[in-house]
Amino acid sequence: MRRLLLLWTLWFTTNLLAVDATLKIEKNVEQRARIALIDSSSEHHEKFFDILLSDLKISGHFLADGNVYKGSFSDGFIDPKLKNRDYLLKYNLQLGSGVRLYIRLLRGADGTELFKKSYSIPDIAKMPFVAHKAISDMNAYLKYPDISWLNRYVVFARYTGKQASEIVLADYTFNYQKTMIRGGLNLFPKWADSNQRTLYYTSYNGVLPTLYKIDIYTGNKSKIISSEGMLVCSDVSKDYSKLLLTMAPHGHADIYELDLSTGSKKRVTNFHGIDVNGKYVDNEKRMVFISNRLGYANVFSKAIDAPGVSPVVYHGRNNSACDTHESKIVYSSRESASSFGSNTFNLYLTSSRGGDTRPLTTTGSNQFPRFSQDGSVVLYIKQSSHGSAIGYINLASAQSLLFPISINTIQSIDW
């Protein structure tokens, strides 16, 4: 059964990647370090091995050998056929009352030990995070650009029934998942601090939608604000002191900036249609947002403290979601005319400072784009005839990865 699942996963991923790969501007493969994994564990753990491979691939810094090699952990013997690899990562995984991992990084040419480390955590379910930490530590030792986003939680809301949802924590591969808030309708989770200790979410369980902040370790919860109609925390400033909220105290959705230190609230848009999804850009002096002020959903920008509004995107008739990192903007655009049923949504990358717009996907329905904390990777949800997947695109290396997921009802997601 497990073998079947693996085969299906490989087939699914290969099929989808084969299509999106048409857009890749491949980083020169020779610029990536060739690396092989040598497993010295008493039993080979296929899922753990696959997670290590995924981490290496999406980092954009390694050209990983997909073969499984077995070998001793401590000796310096290098199989002659592996001597042309830049690096060899030996590892020993022990699963018992918890997870224990030992790693050694060797130079392929002569077997010199470059780096070694051990990890231990009590919760076996969190095994994927051990793999992510090991790869990000190795990457840091080699002084490659930071990939610590591998270690971050993804938080998402999924529908479980009529007016019912759950807020779930996951690792970026979705191999780890834990339902954190269940019962009622709780939506739009958004991280509230850089360490991912607290998050904002909107509860629809009372008469008015209410924004709460919750500590995910203690459960301590505080009410931030309520609004008639709808309430969403769309973005948080870099220092976590200000929020861009979509609220509707006047019966239609507008964007407000809430200063958490003073409690003061500033109305940033004032339009009798739909203004949502405010995201800071350009040192938080401006924002981009989604509005139907031209008769259809499109991406616009405006200064936080000035009234002028200008469109950012000049193609498509339904560009209804976006995310930003500094001046970078990623948005989804509907590219088929069907009012109902399956539609093609593709992701595009553009800039608040103008310049080229670059397509990131070519097939299927690609939605919920979210930048990593450092803006180097875009997360998205892909739906196609093959099923649903969570996808990642490394913007620098054009590497992409898809992990099949069985969740069809994701409501919102943050990383």
């Binding site: 739009f188 629809y204 109609g229 709808m230 979509t246 509707a248 019966g251 239609h252 959705a253 949502v276």
Partner: protein, 170 residues
């Protein structure tokens, strides 16, 4: 002579009796086919006949739902009788608080869909105000795509989800 007639009559009756024991049932088989399928079963408790062409409803407390076109939030003329019905009902309730819940089909993304549901609820509130209703006791909320009443992949089903439901706040 009488005796001859009695014998003949008796013989005829006997023949008829034999015929009744082996009836021609071909016609009956056809009839059996006609009533073979199960009869229908209808729940009319949620049906509204108001000339709008739509006969479903997911509001409660005597209100009727108002339905919308794809990606739209204008009230169609076919929905005006439903708005008038709700206005009469609201006026009869005095100061009771009423919630207008905006809903959408599944074809939208997170925030935009919730805003669209809200615009629909606001459109109904404004239409009720036009009917002379005091709207100070009305609360708006959007449930986006989270509260479907139908999940079949058909246009008719999606249309049932693009709606505003009305109900008393309890």
């Amino acid at each position: 002579m009488m005796k001859k007639i009695s014998v003949s009559t008796l013989a005829l009756l006997m023949l008829l009796g034999c015929a009744q024991k082996t009836p021609d049932v071909s016609g009956n088989i056809l009839d059996t086919n006609k009533i073979g399928s199960d009869t229908i079963s209808i729940d009319e408790s949620g049906i509204v006949e108001d000339g709008s062409g739509i006969n479903y409803n997911s509001s409660s407390d005597g209100f009727v739902s108002v339905y919308f076109d794809f990606d739209g939030y204008n009230i169609a003329s076919s929905m005006e009788s439903r708005v008038r019905h709700n206005a009469r009902k609201l006026q009869s309730l005095g100061s009771r608080q009423v919630k207008l819940e905006g809903n959408c089909d599944e074809f939208g993304t997170d925030e935009y869909n919730y805003a669209l549901g809200l615009k629909r609820a606001k459109a109904v509130k404004d239409a009720l105000a036009d009917q002379g209703v005091n709207t100070s006791n009305i609360v708006l909320v959007s449930f986006g795509e989270s509260s479907p009443v139908c999940s079949d992949p058909t246009d008719a089903c999606y249309a049932q989800n693009r709606r505003v439901d009305l109900r008393l706040v309890r």
